[in-house]
Subunit: 189 residues, 2 copies
């Protein structure tokens, strides 16, 4: 099957998510994912290096969005304002995919290897954001702290956003967490 | 060699650090570590499950210290004050081991698997600290944010502390980072 398959990447991702949820990540093979998507294993490996990557291939795009929006914040923005601009742009890419995000996270939470991978991606986001802030002329310590705190806000707001009991938009939860961080750091509790 | 070996754990750790620095973590075997320490492989496995654990076995103790001091902060302490109490107690256990901490970190930085392990340990510290804060009656969101920000402060202050160009005590670097976080979160830059 050398022919071009329309939306093969998306079909494979959809099939993989269904199987991971149904049988568990560990129990699912690439052959099964390809079959479920009506494609071949060879096609799978044209888009993903392994079955883990299906869950993380959006991370590069997310990081680019975050970094570009942080770097592109107005020169007059405060440091935390630039961080907020980055987080707002990043969350905008999620907003319409709440149910898919929930499903993906439940797969990751159930597997230690995937949880580790997620931590590495978050650490990589913080490193990239700190670099974007330094490029704006922010001093080392402030850039590192702002980036680490910003990614902590992102992580915590994300957890709240995918909580089925929560209906509010991701962007609002980011804003609330940033405000809460300000109160906490200032000794307000 | 069933007999008791004085300070076997410490001798094995010392031998392992020397070999990891000298030859690299991956190139070092448990047999070599045991030999260098004048002990047997069997004795090694009485103290450590594998050669990676030599670098991380202090993590449990660190977490207990952090959690107990956070929990034990005066009831009148602010939330960030309780976090600071936890960090102060944790850093006190490091203060006299600056050179050993530097050596250990250079081994970890050189190996992706060890860097991942370090991230997992930090995430576990944040989870444990958040739980200690909730036990103090702190609401979920504030507890999570304070804990994640506190561990970010710990991580960043640690990096500065082991920088050979830096001579200031760990406790002072923690204090500076907490102050800087307050300024950053309040939009002070």
């Amino acid at each position: 099957m050398g022919r071009w398959e329309p939306n093969a990447r998306g079909r494979l991702a959809q099939a993989a998510l269904e199987l991971y949820l149904d049988r568990g990540f560990e129990q699912t093979t690439v052959a099964e994912i390809a079959k479920q998507a009506g494609l071949t294993e060879r096609t799978f490996f044209r888009y993903y290096t392994d079955k883990r990557e299906v869950l993380f291939w959006g991370a590069g795009e997310l990081q680019r969005t975050l970094v570009e929006a942080t770097a592109g914040a107005p020169a007059t923005a405060t440091l935390i304002g630039a961080v907020a601009a980055g987080l707002d742009a990043a969350t905008a890419t999620f907003e319409e995919h709440r149910e898919a995000s929930r499903r993906r996270q439940s797969i990751i939470s159930a597997n230690a290897e995937l949880r580790e991978r997620e931590l590495i991606k978050l650490a990589s986001l913080a490193t990239a954001m700190a670099e974007a802030l330094r490029q704006r002329g922010v001093a080392d310590l402030a850039a590192s702290l702002a980036a680490e705190a910003g990614i902590a806000v992102f992580k915590i707001a994300f957890e709240r956003w995918i909580d089925p009991a929560n209906q509010r938009p991701f962007s609002l939860l980011i804003r609330e967490s940033l405000d809460e961080l300000k109160t906490v750091a200032s000794g307000g509790y």
